[in-house]
């Protein structure tokens, strides 16, 4: 599904290399987690994959189902099935959450040459999915992320994910700022979406989230590279011993 090969990325504005030859492959249906200390380049990876401005790829490639991702505009990547759940979801004053969602869903459908959802079809779907995430009808009417609590913002990201049904979901520290209940809701939302043709790349600082969303593979990232990959046990190892040993080993 997602293939990243020897990816080198620097900031556009300054001469600072962030990713230094990162390689990673997430096959269809698998959940991969990326853990790593602050400043290792985890968020940069998620932004570069989803097409945010400000980064320059100096070497390497990334593809989704064999299609070169890096040449696509962000909206083309989205229509191709890539989704990023933001660490800090953005507020859009004056734009109703529902309007935003429907515009997004139909923009993608249109880009893929599918018929747009009618108001009725859309409403039915969004209400059902919102209920599963305990998102109230009132929250659907509020402007996108404006005045949402941390937990509401993250649940809203998962609602968008559910509505857009992407094949490759990247979650950037979705667990940050969540209390136990919110974490459970978010995880249940994600687990409900797991399927043989959908993959996840879960970026997190803590093992905690991985108790709820069980990964197939765990990668440890440091200084712009994957330094170690392994099974779920690797996350537990980090939880107990910290990154110190792993980093020393990599050096």
């Amino acid at each position: 599904m997602l293939k990243i090969n020897n990816l080198h990325v620097k900031l556009e504005e300054e001469d600072k290399q962030i990713l230094k030859g990162l390689s990673l492959e997430v096959p269809a249906g698998e959940v991969h987690a990326i853990m790593g200390p602050n400043g290792s380049g985890k968020s940069t990876l998620s932004y570069v994959l989803s097409g945010r401005d400000g980064y320059e790829v100096t070497e390497g490639e990334a593809s989704l189902d064999g299609e070169d991702l890096l040449d696509m505009d962000p909206e083309v990547r989205a229509a191709a099935g890539l989704f990023l759940a933001f660490q800090y979801p953005v507020e859009i004053p004056g734009v109703g959450n529902m309007t935003f969602l429907r515009t997004a869903v139909n923009a993608q459908r249109k880009a893929r040459g599918e018929a747009e959802l009618t108001a009725g079809e859309f409403l039915k779907e969004v209400r059902a999915k919102a209920a599963e995430l305990q998102i109230s009808p009132e929250m659907l009417k509020r402007p996108v992320n404006v005045g949402f609590s941390g937990g509401e913002k993250k649940r809203n990201e998962i609602l968008q994910m559910a509505m857009l049904s992407p094949r490759m979901c990247i979650m950037d520290e979705t667990d940050s700022g969540l209390d136990v209940d919110a974490m459970r809701l978010v995880s249940e939302g994600v687990n409900a979406l797991r399927s043989p043709d959908r993959s996840f790349l879960v970026i997190t600082h803590y093992q905690r989230l991985l108790d709820h969303i069980k990964p197939d593979v765990v990668h440890i990232m440091s200084n712009g590279r994957i330094i170690k990959s392994g099974g779920p046990d690797l996350a537990l190892e980090v939880e107990h011993n910290g990154y110190g040993d792993l980093l020393a080993e990599a050096d």
Partner: protein
Amino acid sequence: MTGTTDLDVREGVDRETVETVQNMGSYKYGWNTEIEMEYAPKGVNEDIVRLISEKNGEPEWMTDWRLEAYRRWITMTEPKWAMLNYPEIDYQDQYYYARPASMQEKPKSLDEVDPKLLATYEKLGIPLKEQMILAGVEGAENAPAEGRKVAVDAVFDSVSVGTTFKDELAKAGVIFCSISEAIRDHPELVKKYLGTVVPATDNYFATLNSAVFSDGSFVYIPEGVTCPMELSTYFRINAENTGQFERTLIVAEKGSSVSYLEGCTAPKRDIAQLHAAVVEIVVLEDAEVKYSTVQNWFPGDEDGKGGIYNFVTKRADCRGARSKIMWTQVETGSAITWKYPSCILRGEESQGEFYSIAIANNWQQADTGTKMVHLGKNTKSRIVSKGISAGQAQNTYRGLVSMHPRATNSRNYTQCDSLLIGDKCGAHTVPYIEVKNTSSRVEHEATTSKVDDDQLFYCRSRGMDEEEAVALVVNGFCREVLQALPMEFAMEAQALVAISLEGSVG
């Protein structure tokens, strides 16, 4: 536009915006109707003023009123205080009167109406039934109406070509006709109110209008009557080098109410064209008038060539106690906009509201705002202005809030927000506040922001292209004002916001 359910409208608006953006060129109404026109000679002088008056079959008092205005006008100088830059206007190099030759005699049936005029309205999206009446066909009023009724008065260059639903309105006692007809058929009303809100001596452009106005709309709502349908006037400038000077007069008697819409378009031309309109509104005791404008005159091309110079004086006089006026404007067109719809709050507890979206893209310049003049006790006003600048455009909000000594316990709230797209445009806010009593309260809030890259990326990462994303964010910024518009206009306005900003990013 009609027959949509509430749900469809609420949820479908953005999709419509998006489709509109994708399907249209940058100025949708830029085509020209090749039609045989009858012009008065170029330039303005007493003979031209007399000629216009004669063409309209006006009584002598009207001719004299015009001439007096003209004599005043030649002693005046053009105001230069606005933040607008444009080449000197040669007032003698304009046509002041143009009408389709086929309108010399009113057509009796659809077959007699110039098919080009019919096609013009069809292209502007005015429904067939209305179209028939619009083109001046007698008897078409009896055909069954489709959807929701909106009575229309259409002004093509200098003349009104027709008014719809007149009979039905007449049953309710409402008079809705062209101002030239009103001068002929209801001289007592016109005489009583014309020039009492915007005097012929008011300002350079209003005075010129008083001398040469060729047509426009007249509305009279009798005491206690709620107008049974929306009224609207559709202005189209078609002829080249022709100024349009329309005059609208609305009188709402005690306890009456009316909602009035105004739409404007013009063809693409290299040479700038002048538009100087006057709107006067008289609101008596307990009456309510809602006046909405979607102004989409040709804004000039991407290099700033051509476009309409729009110098407009609009004023409402809330004469009666508890009377209410609400101005809503969506200004997306014109190369130059000079416009300050005002409220004179004379009656006790009268209320004035002003909701505005002004968009300036490419080389457009807008200097617009409002005046709230509080004269009566316990009067209230509210101003919500949203200015959007893109390209090299300059957008100025200029507003006066004045609390007179006798306007005790009065309130004003002003919210003035500017949004910048790109780094070559400008937004300016010039509030004038005068408070001459101690019990009144004035609040002013202003913000300036830029379209945020994070917002655009967020939208795009969900599948919207850049223009859809900008349209969505800007429509969100304008939401409070869009909500103040009647439903039919809100959708059109939302689409317009998107079109006006095409090419402003990237």
